[in-house]
């Protein structure tokens, strides 16, 4: 029986030696490190900027937690500030940190290296993408300093309140927020076109689609989702800006504000919710799919086993991507929509659990009887599986209309989405940084500090979010500065709040250790060599570490196998890099260490 390797055989195979002219060679320091067109530098720029704003969002979360645990103790937090912190924290974390880091950061670094390309196909556009992103970030940060401060409308920015007098930041903050989002989307689209076209067209010889590491599949599919979903946010941002500045009535109904009838008439706030969640739900998967992909690779490498069910994993990624577009209204069960819609969206929401569960089973089955190395990246990957499963299960609760109605807008929801889309992907971000840092800098991160960071973060997040589910059951609402004058919330809830805040501060402090580790290891870390984890994928096979401009020296690698040839029987080493031809595989048998 013939083996079918790929349908690409008849297709085009790019030449191995690529002419020098195709790459843009920087000559000055500025050209090399600032206005760089090299995807690896752009990746680092994206990463550093994203982590920078992420730190702001982290500090905001401490302030919120302090307020919740010790109400009335901090004179600089008033109710408006609190709402502003909530909104900026949420928006920064979701869009400016996670999306930018996964796609702009890891996407830029890993796509060309992993598919065996010299760079992205449009390096100049790629560079622009970063600068537009930076501009969007600056606009966002600027909104802290304008009169009235940043918007306090929540990260969902629902009109009419987002632009009505009385909501914090309703005059300046919201405009800056919307304009910043619009720029973010433009910048992302530039980058996204690059990622997609590079994966489609710049793979090296032999790198068929079905041999790509799952990391690339995850990033690729997430980029497609983002390219199609972000326009929804763009549309709603534009229409809201028009409502605000020109007085149109796309979203604004006839409304009386502060005793004054406004000139708006007949707009539909629900329309905004549809548009927003049409973006908002896929957004969850925009940060989850790259995490899925990366985790698959971390597990395979550090358990020295091929990934279980590679094709199923690819199909699951695609299925999740497709389904994620038809579940958006599960965020709108309380908006008074037609009950049949609720039924439809509950069904689709539950269906999406199927491909997701397949992925989880496959990760676990990959670990099963693997040669598990509990390195720091592996710890984070396993931590991800736990956290994601727990967050996913509460998602199944909330997907049902009858369960969601009482829990909507309570701390239960906050606990759910932090587990599934905040902590879980962040754990992958950390795991990925520990895994690829040696390639990026040529040095290992400090292992002890890494393990410390992992255990505090992992256990700490549970200490934060587990109790929060109970608060939600008791009916503690989200986005509340302080809950007073009710008798359905017992005093014990308050002690719980204090405990959560202490856990949050401890977790926050652990991140400082991580940042210190990043900086310290850059100068003093143990040299890593080119392939410290004995991994098979192409980024570990570069002639130099960190890889130089052009990635692969004179000749591009030729790929002969998938990225998961670990522990192949009858072979001397327990891994075979993708670019080793069958004739050069040393035979023998590897001994388990």
């Amino acid at each position: 029986m013939p083996t079918y390797v790929a349908h690409d055989e008849s297709d085009y195979a790019p030449p191995t030696e690529v002419a020098e002219v195709e790459l843009y060679h920087p000559k000055t320091f500025l050209g090399k490190y600032v206005w760089s067109q090299d995807a690896k530098i752009i990746a680092i720029q994206y990463g550093v900027t994203a982590i920078g704003v992420g730190v702001i969002a982290l500090v905001l979360s401490w302030l919120m937690r302090l307020q919740l645990a010790y109400p009335n103790q901090f004179s600089f937090i008033d109710p408006s500030n609190y709402l502003q912190f909530v909104s900026m924290h949420g928006m920064i974390m979701v869009v400016y940190l996670l999306t930018a880091l996964f796609l702009g950061g890891f996407g830029n670094y890993l796509i060309p290296l992993m598919v065996g390309a010299r760079d992205m196909v449009f390096p100049y556009v790629n560079m622009l993408s970063y600068w537009v992103y930076l501009f969007a970030v600056l606009l966002l940060v600027a909104s802290f300093f304008v009169p009235g401060g940043p918007t306090g409308a929540g990260w969902t920015l629902y009109p009419p309140q987002a632009i009505l007098d009385g909501t914090p930041g309703a005059s300046w903050g919201i405009i800056l927020m919307l304009v910043s989002l619009a720029f973010f989307i433009i910048g992302f689209t530039m980058g996204g076109l690059n990622y997609v076209v590079t994966v489609l067209q710049a793979r090296t010889r032999g790198m068929t689609l079905m041999r790509m590491p799952l990391t690339i599949w995850g990033i690729f599919m997430a980029t497609i989702l983002a390219l199609l979903a972000f326009p929804a946010l763009f549309v709603s941002a534009i229409m809201m800006i028009l409502d605000l500045t020109l007085g149109t009535s796309f979203f604004m109904p006839a409304i009386v504000s502060k005793g004054q009838a406004l000139s708006h008439d007949g707009g539909s706030p629900i329309l905004f919710q549809h548009l927003f969640w049409f973006f908002g739900h896929p957004e969850v998967y925009i940060v989850a799919l790259p995490a899925f992909g990366i985790v698959s690779d971390l597990i395979a490498v550090h358990a020295r086993k091929n990934i279980f069910g590679y094709r199923m994993m690819v199909w699951a990624i695609v299925a999740i991507g497709g389904l994620s577009f038809i579940v958006w209204a599960h965020h709108m069960y309380v908006s008074g929509m037609n009950p049949y819609f609720g039924f439809f969206f509950a069904t689709t929401t539950l269906i999406i659990a199927i491909p997701t569960a397949i992925k989880v089973y496959n990760w676990v089955l990959t670990l099963w009887r693997g040669d598990i190395h509990l390195s720091v990246p592996m710890l984070f990957a396993i931590g991800f599986i736990f956290t994601f499963v727990i967050g996913g299960l509460t998602g199944l609760f909330l997907g049902n209309v009858v369960v969601d109605l009482p829990l909507s807008d309570t701390m239960f929801v906050v606990a759910h989405f932090h587990m599934v889309m905040a902590i879980a992907p962040i754990l992958v971000v950390f795991g990925a940084i520990y895994h690829w840092y040696p390639k990026i800098t040529g040095r290992m991160l400090h292992d002890g500090m890494g393990k410390f960071h992992f255990w505090i973060t992992f256990v700490g997040s549970y200490a934060i979010y587990y109790p929060m589910h109970y608060l939600g059951f008791m009916g503690v609402p989200r986005r509340y500065y302080a809950v007073t004058g009710t008798n359905f919330i017992p005093d014990s809830a308050h002690s719980l709040n204090v405990a959560i805040t202490i856990a949050a501060l401890v977790v926050g402090a652990a991140q400082v250790v991580f940042l210190y580790n990043l900086v310290r290891s850059y100068y003093r870390g143990a040299p890593s060599g080119g392939n410290p984890w004995n991994a098979t994928s192409l980024e570990w096979q570069t002639p130099h570490t960190p890889p130089e401009h052009g990635n692969f020296g004179k000749e591009l690698p030729v790929v002969y196998r998938w990225a998961y040839d670990y522990s192949v029987p009858g072979v001397r080493h327990d891994f075979i890099p993708q670019n080793v031809p069958p004739s050069e595989v040393p035979s023998g048998s590897w001994a388990k260490p």
């Binding site: 083996t3 079918y4 390797v5 790929a6 349908h7 055989e9 008849s10 297709d11 085009y12 195979a13 790019p14 196909v121 449009f122 689209t189 076109l193 997609v196 076209v197 067209q201 032999g206 068929t208 689609l209 079905m210 041999r211 390219l227 199609l228 326009p231 929804a232 763009f234 549309v235 534009i238 229409m239 028009l242 007085g247 149109t248 009535s249 796309f250 000139s263 008439d265 007949g266 707009g267 539909s268 329309l271 549809h274 548009l275 049409f278 590679y310 094709r311 690819v314 199909w315 695609v318 497709g322 577009f325 038809i326 030729v558 002969y560 196998r561 998938w562 998961y564 031809p581 069958p582």
Partner: protein, 235 residues
Amino acid sequence: MTITLLFLAGLMGVVVWWLLRESTRVQPWAVQGPVPDVHTATLPRHAAKTALIVFLAVATSLFALFISAYAMRIRLLDWSPLPQPRLLMVNTAVLVLASLAMEWTAFAARRGDQDRVRAGLAAAGLLTVAFVAGQLVVWSQLAGAGYFVATSAATGFFYLLTAVHGLHVLGGLVAWMRPYARARSGRDADAARLRLGVELCAIYWHFLLAVWIVLLAVLVSKDLGLSICSTAVPL
């Protein structure tokens, strides 16, 4: 949202078909011998063309969402209809001509006929500028009759949809300048790039024409039941 979903369903169909083709009967774990050498016969699509196609998918998503928003909003009953500017038909004709001119230019470029390419690009450019100018006249006519952006929901959407389309057309004109400059300079070395540039422009122009016809249909045509322009008060 139905409109957007239909578009996405189509797109997902393409992705699934493509993936089926790539993944069935493939054994990812199998090892392969050396890859055959370059087949010049099957050069891949130029990366710029792929990028344009992906971009068009993004733009389609954008327009589909705008139209979805419009269609959802129109179900609420407070529309006070707009007059139907007659000039819209003229503008449409101009845009059709611009698209045809682009196609003719692409044909000339494929045969390497530099003179015709230059003429064709100039004509297409002029026609496109005329279209944009015509749209601006429509706006000023509407404004003259007292229909401003914020006058009613209908005017809001009319201005919004035409503006978004117009901005895409202007973006096209910016891109158009490169092949045009290349055609003017007339250097032979540039011929391949010129051909590519013209081809990309032609694709983009046809796309914008298609989008415009859909927009026109939803804004003006009674048959879809979505129109907000009424012939009762012609302009």
